[in-house]
Amino acid sequence: MNETSYWTWHIITGLLVLILLGMHMLIMHLDGILGWFSPAEGEAVSWDNVFSRSKHVGFTLTYVLLLGAALYHGLYGLRTILFELSPPVRLQKFINVTFWVGGVFLFIVGTYGSLAIFKQ
């Protein structure tokens, strides 16, 4: 990808993260006010509530979508900060490879976590 597509994807994933992470934050941290998707007693982060959300396919799909979009957005943001410091070209290539490999690895770990609930 060239730099312009990287940047365009940064904006697209930014808007995706805005919507999905916005929902995530409202569900997890405004549960006392809103109480969305937390049918069981206790906090939104309690196991019973986490379990009831995670077994919905809709949540699994949006978790994976949010995971990918947020990883891209965050890692590209950090890459921009690092590249601004004018690293030598070899270091730039190293950063690119490390971030892609690391990002894909974290994506696999997180996707596995989103699917793990279905084994129970």
Partner: protein, 146 residues
Amino acid sequence: MANQKKHSNHLGILGWIGGGSWGHERLLYFIHRITGIGILFYFILHIFVTTFGRFSKGDWELIMGGFESPIFKIGEFLVFAAFAFHAFNGIRLVLIELGFAVGKAEDPVYPYRTSINKQKPLMLLMMILAMVLILAGSYDFIRLAH
């Protein structure tokens, strides 16, 4: 960061605070970067914690029990506040980047109107919305503390 002629950045990270002119946008830029880095590091830990706690109720409660102390609650609130700022400032940046908050070209008739006439109210609106969200979130954190 589009393709452009590269100049060496001799100020380095100090350029975040030291380069160019100082205004409210410089401050927002600085906080946007700090909050972005903070959220990214929380997020990477969050992926591991939520994945490895997801295999059973016992695992989840064991791992989550490790984050009960007040220091983690304060840290969690800081991540929430960072999210609120980064989100609303991000909306502002996208609106300006895509040209919505720039305004159309027009004849320079006195009193001149500039894009600042649009961008300053936008900035104020976004910061007020971020503060409202942070206050709503702090209610939840205070409730948990009792």
